[in-house]
Structures are given as structure tokens and as C-alpha cells.
């Protein structure tokens, strides 16, 4: 064993408890949503852990001691925070233990989590030697570990451009660095674990979101579709960032929609942290955040009052800060090291698009449509497209969920332009390697939108499902 059982417990417990403390400060408790809670805690904890690892590298502190101490101190401080959001947080729809829908959802969730565990264990038989997980993500983590700072071997590699795509955000490598710190050495397989756990988090958060916006039986069906979608198996046993993007996008949109629906400030906080998580992952994460903002503005272009409310400073404007900080960290890092990477938005990229667009547009479109219609993707993108065209966004009550089709259209459009800027000779390779990944990242959001639409179509009543009020003493972190 590279990690002792105690180190393995610390590896998982530190981010989880740090995340739980943050959720507590936001007024979100286990009783708020018994399914989604652990997934949110893991996401928020990973973000917090990455912040602590960044501080540790900046000040060249010894780890894991400094990270564990930082997590304990930060968690303690968060538990002391009395967040003044809404007086009483509301839980998700009541859980009817004997209801058929609930039983189906519980069964589907148990099956999906069990299969995810088996995928991770089966994947653990192969160490990291090929693929982006090795060449981008793990290599940067190894350089961080070797240097123990942003200088030394790391700075040297950045200077020599020995690190492919050096301008990528680096939350993923910081999570792997956490494993190296605990092992006291570079590992070749167990460092996937923090990223693999995000697959569990994705299914927990998806089950919670589907149940929140639809009937449990629909949620059960959609959860199975998500877990059997092409790439679900691959991302569960690799340390690539795609599952993190899928998780971040789902939680950000779901939490934002809950905030608009319920008014509880904790949801806005969770959405903000999930947005920061997205921005720190890879360029697709940044693209989703921007695409949502663009889609929102386009849909509300005529509603001046709504737009004015967004730009007017208020206490909740402070929730932009986590996103700004993460963007600033990446920008400062890239400026400092003069980092480069593929998919830079510059004149050369624009020239690439203009030069190769005529030759690439049809093959790229044919490939992506073919992929969307493949049973391996459970036809989710195709069904989403059909439903979005037939019903548009207006069929849904939630203004946030109404934004999803346009958001995905914008994001997919930009990704498409990134594909077609490749030379025709490289196009097939690029579509084969990146096309399926990009399509997968959007699947949880597509399913969430389908869940909410199905609720409207199958349920005769136009009202959303009632929420449960949980009994929490006032002034106790809500």
C-alpha cells in the first residue's frame, strides 16, 4: 500500500469535513438534502483544499501538516460564522420511504454508486502512463511536489515549456498534490482518487437535482442514463478534469436555480463556489460560466429591471468574489510564467477558424451529430435538442433552468469553433479525443433540463413539487 489506512482516511476526511463546515456556514445542512449534501461537501471541500495547497506552495510550507492545520483552523472559523441568509432553510421534496418513485431512485442510486466503485477499482489495476491525465494533470502535480513551491523545478519546467498546456487552470493537479503530500512520494495510481471521488459526487448531486426538479421515478431513470452514458466509465477511472467540469456545471446551475426559487442565500453561496470550482478546472469550465452569463443576458435583454438588479451592488454581489479570485490566481500565474497552451483566444486562433472553417464545418457537424445520435450517449444530446426545439426554454418555470438550452448552445458553438480551427488533417483526431469529452460534460445539465421539462409534461398540475421545511433553531448558522 502506498498510503496507510490512516492516510487514506485523512485524504478523504479533510476535504469532506472542510466542505461540510463551509456548507454549514452557508446554512446548508445534511437535513437540507440528504442525497446531494455529501456531493456538495466534496466539491466545496476540494475547492478549499486547492486554496490551502496554493497557499502552501506560495509560502513553501511543509505538507501535509500545514494543509491539515489550515483546514482545521478554517473549518473552525467557518463553524463560528452565523450566516444571515433566510431564516429557515427548506429541505428538498419530502422523502416518502414507501413510495415507488423513492424506492426506484434509491435503488438506481445504490446501483450507480456500486458500479462507480467497481469502475474505480478496476481502473486502479492500470497506472498512469498515457493520456492527458498523465501528460498534463499528473505531470504538473509531480512538478509541484518536486519543487514544493511555484519555483524550482516547476518554474524551470514552465520556462522550458516542458509542461504541455501550461496555461490551464490547476485545481486538478493540486488535488493530486494532496495525495503525494500524504504518501510522502510521487505515486502513479492512488493520486487519481480525489478526482475519482468526484464521480460519486456527480451522481449524488445529479440524483438530488433530478429529484428536486422532477419526480423521483424520472430522476431514477435519468440517473441510469447518466451513469451509462459514453465516457462515464472512462472518467470514473481516470484523473482527467471532465468529470469535475460536469459536476461543477450541474451544481452551479442547480444551486442557482434553487436560490431563485427559494430565496435562501446559502444556495447562492453554493452556486458561487461551484462557479469558482468550474473556473479553476479547465477552459471548458470557464466557457460554461461565460456561456451562462451570455445566455442569461440575452434572455433578459428586454427586461431592463432584471439586468439592473444584477449589476446593482448589494451584499450578494460579494458572491462574485470567489470567481474573481480564482480568475486572478490563474491570470497572475500565467502572466508570471508567460504560460502558453492550446485554445488561446488570439489572432492566430481567429485566423485558424477563418482558414479551415470551409473545409471542416461539414465533417465536424456530421461527426458531432453522429455522436449525439449514438446509443452510447443514450441519445441524450439528440433528445435534448429535439425537446429544446419543440418547447424552447419557456416551458420551464425556473428562469435559471430556462437559460440552459441557450447556455449549452453558446458553449457548444464556441467548442465547435475551437475544433474547426484545427487543420483538416488533425480534425478527426481532435474530434475523437475532445468531441466525446465535450459532449459528456454537458450531459448532466441536459438531463437536469429534461427532468424539469418532464415534470411539467407528465404532471398535470403546473405547480412545482412542495418542499419540506426542516426544523432548525434560528440563529444557528442559517
Amino acid at each position: 500500500m502506498v498510503l496507510s489506512p490512516l492516510a487514506l482516511v485523512v485524504l478523504l476526511a479533510v476535504p469532506l469535513l472542510f466542505g461540510a463546515a463551509t456548507l454549514r456556514a452557508l446554512g446548508l445542512r445534511f437535513a437540507t438534502d440528504r442525497i446531494g449534501y455529501l456531493g456538495w461537501a466534496w466539491l466545496v471541500g476540494c475547492l478549499g483544499l486547492a486554496v490551502l495547497e496554493t497557499v502552501r506552495l506560495l509560502f513553501e510550507l511543509p505538507s501535509p501538516r500545514s494543509v491539515v492545520t489550515g483546514a482545521v483552523l478554517a473549518s473552525g472559523a467557518l463553524l463560528l460564522v452565523r450566516w444571515r441568509a433566510s431564516p429557515v432553510p427548506r429541505a428538498g421534496p419530502p422523502w416518502k420511504a414507501r413510495g415507488l418513485g423513492e424506492r426506484l431512485l434509491a435503488g438506481a442510486l445504490a446501483l450507480v454508486l456500486l458500479v462507480t466503485l467497481t469502475r474505480i477499482l478496476r481502473g486502479s489495476l492500470a497506472v498512469m502512463v498515457v493520456d492527458d491525465e498523465t501528460n498534463f494533470w499528473a505531470l504538473r502535480a509531480k512538478l509541484f511536489f518536486q519543487a514544493g513551491s511555484f519555483g524550482g523545478a516547476y518554474a524551470e519546467a514552465m520556462k522550458l515549456r516542458a509542461l504541455p498546456n501550461g496555461s490551464y487552470p490547476f485545481l486538478n493537479p493540486l488535488l493530486q498534490l494532496w495525495v503525494f503530500d500524504l504518501a510522502g512520494t510521487i505515486t502513479h495510481q492512488i493520486n487519481r482518487l480525489p478526482i475519482e471521488v468526484c464521480s460519486f459526487a456527480l451522481y449524488l448531486c445529479a440524483a438530488s437535482a433530478f429529484r428536486r426538479w422532477s419526480q423521483p421515478w424520472i430522476g431514477a431513470a435519468l440517473l441510469v442514463l447518466l451513469a451509462t452514458c459514453s465516457q462515464s466509465d472512462f472518467v470514473a477511472r481516470k484523473a482527467n478534469s471532465d468529470v469535475l467540469v460536469a459536476l461543477g456545471a450541474l451544481v452551479a446551475v442547480d444551486a442557482l436555480a434553487r436560490w431563485r426559487d427559494e430565496g435562501h442565500g446559502g444556495w447562492l453561496g453554493l452556486a458561487s463556489l461551484a462557479g469558482a470550482f468550474l473556473l479553476w478546472l479547465k477552459k471548458e469550465g470557464t466557457l460554461y460560466v461565460l456561456a451562462f452569463a451570455v445566455a442569461w443576458c440575452l434572455l433578459h435583454a428586454r427586461d431592463r429591471a432584471s439586468l439592473r438588479r444584477i449589476v446593482q451592488p448589494s451584499p450578494r454581489t460579494l458572491w462574485v468574489l470567489p470567481l474573481v479570485v480564482v480568475l486572478a490566481v490563474t491570470t497572475i500565474h500565467n502572466t508570471w510564467f508567460d504560460a502558453a497552451g492550446s485554445y488561446q483566444l488570439d489572432g492566430q486562433a481567429l485566423m485558424g477558424v477563418l482558414t479551415y472553417l470551409p473545409a471542416n464545418v461539414l465533417p465536424a457537424l456530421a461527426y458531432l451529430f453522429g455522436l449525439a445520435l449514438k446509443p452510447s450517449f443514450n441519445l441524450v444530446p439528440a433528445m435534448f435538442l429535439v425537446l429544446a426545439v419543440v418547447f424552447g426554454g419557456s416551458a420551464l418555470r425556473s428562469p435559471v433552468l430556462r437559460t440552459v438550452p441557450l447556455m449549452l448552445l453558446v458553449a457548444t458553438g464556441v467548442c465547435f469553433l475551437a475544433f474547426v480551427k484545427a487543420t483538416p488533417a488533425d480534425l478527426d483526431w481532435l474530434l475523437d479525443t475532445a468531441g466525446t469529452r465535450v459532449l459528456f460534460q454537458a450531459v448532466p445539465l441536459e438531463l437536469l433540463w429534461i427532468a424539469a421539462l418532464a415534470q411539467r409534461l407528465f404532471d398535470a398540475s403546473e405547480e412545482p413539487r412542495p418542499l419540506e421545511t426542516i426544523d432548525v433553531p434560528r440563529g444557528k448558522g442559517v
Binding site: 500500500m1 502506498v2 446501483l111 450507480v112 456500486l114 458500479v115 467497481t118 469502475r119 477499482l121 478496476r122 486502479s124 489495476l125 492500470a126 497506472v127 498512469m128 502512463v129 498515457v130 498523465t134 501528460n135 499528473a138 505531470l139 509531480k142 518536486q146 523545478a153 516542458a162 510521487i186 505515486t187 502513479h188 495510481q189 492512488i190 424520472i218 431514477a220 431513470a221 435519468l222 441510469v224 442514463l225 451513469a227 451509462t228 466509465d233 446509443p375 443514450n378 441519445l379 433528445m383 429535439v386 425537446l387 419543440v390 418547447f391 429534461i450 418532464a454 409534461l457 407528465f458
Partner: protein, 157 residues
């Protein structure tokens, strides 16, 4: 499109794909006995050996070929050393040696495509892995042969 048609389409899709998906998920569980014991018990070195064996199989070389290469690099090239490997050959397995770079970190693994010239001076702490007889002859007298395999040799100061 009438609403009832869309609802019917949605239902058919949900039932069809959910049933197919559930069968697929249960199918994944059936294979557990075949791999669960090694997955829970193997050390990281054994997992490395297993991964490299898969590479042997893929490239049609004798079992243990890539593991022997990996062991030679780990044992003979110091962590701060540079491994230069010759990729002028057409051998696919020679090109795949770059995969060992991830396992050999922090050793720097560089590909060489240039033909060695008579006045070539190798920097200190540079090691050479070659599959080529011509390069082998060139290295004789300049470096020491540290390890050999069926068609490769590792040279160092």
C-alpha cells in the same frame, strides 16, 4: 409537433434507454470476480508491471519487455539525470518508450531524432537508450553499456 407525441416519445426513450442502461450496469457487476482480488491487494509496483504487460501484449513483444526497460531506467539513470532515447528507428515499441517517462519522473526523458555526428559531445548525466546498431557502435568507447535487452541497450557515463 403535438404535445402528446412528444410525451410519448419521451416516455419510450426513457423506458428503452433505462432498461438498456440497467442491464449494462448489472453486466458490469458480473465481471467483478475476475479482477476484484488483484484490485484490492496488488502493490503499486505490481500494478506498474501489469500496465506494462498490457503494453507488451499490444505491441506483440515478449511478456516483461517493457518492465525490463523500465527497471533498467529506474536503476541506472539517477533522478536528476536525462535519458535520451533514439527514435530514428521505425520500431513502434521504441516510440512507445516515451510512456515510461511518466513512471521515470523526475528523470528528464528526451527524444532524439538527429543522426549522431563524430564530434557530438553529450552533456554530463546524460544517458542514452538506443535500438539502433549504428548508434550502439557510435557510443562504444564514449559511454558504458549499463543494461541490454532483446533489441535495446542503455548507455551511461
Amino acid at each position: 409537433m403535438p404535445k402528446v407525441v412528444v410525451v410519448a416519445l419521451l416516455l419510450v426513450w426513457l423506458v428503452w434507454r433505462t432498461l438498456a442502461g440497467t442491464i449494462g450496469l448489472l453486466g458490469e457487476l458480473v465481471s467483478i470476480p475476475a479482477w476484484i482480488v488483484p484490485a484490492l491487494t496488488l502493490s503499486e509496483d505490481e500494478r506498474i508491471a501489469r500496465t506494462l504487460e498490457a503494453r507488451d501484449e499490444k505491441l506483440g513483444v515478449a511478456p516483461g519487455y517493457h518492465h525490463a526497460l523500465y527497471r533498467a531506467v529506474i536503476e541506472h539513470v539517477p533522478p536528476d539525470g536525462t535519458l535520451l532515447f533514439d527514435v530514428r528507428t521505425d520500431l513502434e515499441r521504441a516510440k512507445s518508450v516515451i510512456h515510461l517517462g511518466a513512471l521515470a519522473f523526475p528523470r528528464l526523458v528526451l527524444r532524439n531524432r538527429a543522426r549522431p555526428s563524430a564530434d557530438l559531445e553529450l552533456p554530463p548525466r546524460t544517458y542514452v537508450l538506443t535500438f539502433d546498431e549504428e548508434v550502439r557502435a557510435f557510443l562504444q568507447g564514449r559511454l558504458r553499456e549499463l543494461a541490454t535487452g532483446p533489441d535495446w541497450s542503455l548507455w551511461g557515463p
